[in-house]
């Protein structure tokens, strides 16, 4: 551990890194880093953040110091964005010494991972309720729950193996539509008409790149044009690939059906 100033710089960098890794807005990462630098008495703080990394530099008694981080994997973690926000607010009001802020940030980043079954359950619930929102009945609710659980269960190993997010969108869209279609066909064997439209739409709703789109807008408004464009492209590509996955499953089914 270096001097207080160095710890302050480190915690500012850690805060910015956590925000970017949790899919927070780029301007928020920059604002937070600058605010924390100011709180810990660092001078000439300059930060340049992108969705994929950032550099932060400031002048301390030991000279100009710089921190550079590359952000490779981003996931949606609203709780961490909220946590960093609380810490940086406390720091800015002078209630949190640098060493303590650093410890709290480290603790925030090390919370125990959530079991995949829990994520799958929430995904399944979201999908099932979206299906009902689109006019599905009790049968569609159940099928959507099953398919949703399956989709999220599939997402976990894909994330772990480092499959890029854009490719994941295609695979998951394909899997969601294919599983829904299979269940709908099974239903028709037993003379149960399944509302295929409500079912598939409900299952893919949570996969839509809402977060990327909203953040693209918010970054653009703040004048962070590079990040805004990058995130806008990310959202668009995800949506296109997700749709392509769904289309592929529908097309496949059409082939089998007519044969």
């Amino acid at each position: 551990m270096g001097s207080d100033e160095v710890v302050g710089l480190d915690s500012a960098a850690l805060a910015a890194r956590t925000i970017l890794e949790s899919s927070g807005e780029t301007y928020r990462a920059e604002d937070t880093a600058l605010r924390m630098c100011a709180a810990y008495g660092l001078e000439d703080a300059q930060v340049m953040a992108f969705p994929t990394g950032f550099t932060l530099s400031a002048t301390t008694r030991e000279g100009q110091l710089t921190r550079v981080f590359r952000v490779t994997e981003r996931s949606m973690r609203l709780d961490r964005i909220d946590g960093v926000n609380t810490i940086s607010r406390l720091a800015a009001s002078g209630q949190l010494p640098a060493a303590q802020a650093h410890r709290q940030l480290l603790a925030l980043r090390q919370d125990p991972p959530r079991p995949w079954q829990l994520s799958a359950l929430y995904y399944a619930l979201a999908a099932a309720f979206f299906t009902v929102m689109f006019g599905g009945g009790l049968l569609e609710f159940g099928l959507s729950f099953l398919t949703g659980f399956l989709v999220q269960a599939l997402q976990t190993p894909l994330v772990r193996r480092g499959v890029p997010g854009q490719l994941r969108a295609f695979v998951l869209g394909f899997a969601a539509a294919l599983a829904s279609l299979a269940l709908a066909s099974l239903g028709s064997i037993w003379q149960l008409p399944v509302g295929q439209e409500a079912l598939i739409t409900g299952v893919i709703m949570p996969l839509l790149p809402g977060l990327a789109m909203t953040n693209a807008i918010r970054d653009t408004i703040r004048g962070d044009l590079v990040s805004g464009l990058a995130r806008g492209a990310e959202a668009l590509i995800s949506a296109v690939l997700l749709s392509a996955g769904v289309a592929a499953a529908l097309w496949l089914r059409g082939m089998i059906w007519t044969a």
């Binding site: 709780d79 408004i221 529908l250």
Partner: protein, 142 residues
Amino acid sequence: MDSLIRALACMAAALSFGKLLRQPRSTLVFTALIGLLGYAAYQLIGGMLGFFVSGLLVGILCEVTARVVERTTTLFLISSIIPTVPGLGLYRTMMALSENDLERAGQIGLETLAGIGAIALALTFASVLFAGIRPPQRKPTS
């Protein structure tokens, strides 16, 4: 009765989606309510204007709520806007595409894209409205 079930499902969906993204518990009630209001506005008005009004309503309500409970807007925005996002249009476009019905795919696809654009524009307006009235920013003076 049917619309009551749909309304409840909409709130439950927004809530579950918030849980999936690990939204802090105390913010979940707000997103469920705002999500429902946005979806209801879209259902009542419909079309492009529906998307726009819904986006504007959700955006403004999220900004106001965030300021009242002193949390960041992002926490509220994402799961509140999701029920309005035109997933149905996206599915119908893909359905038409897989049936080689390019004309219908083009028409619905364009409508869906325009709907997303309308939501984005409305959210932008809402953010800009509030961008000026936030606590004074501690910008570094260089």
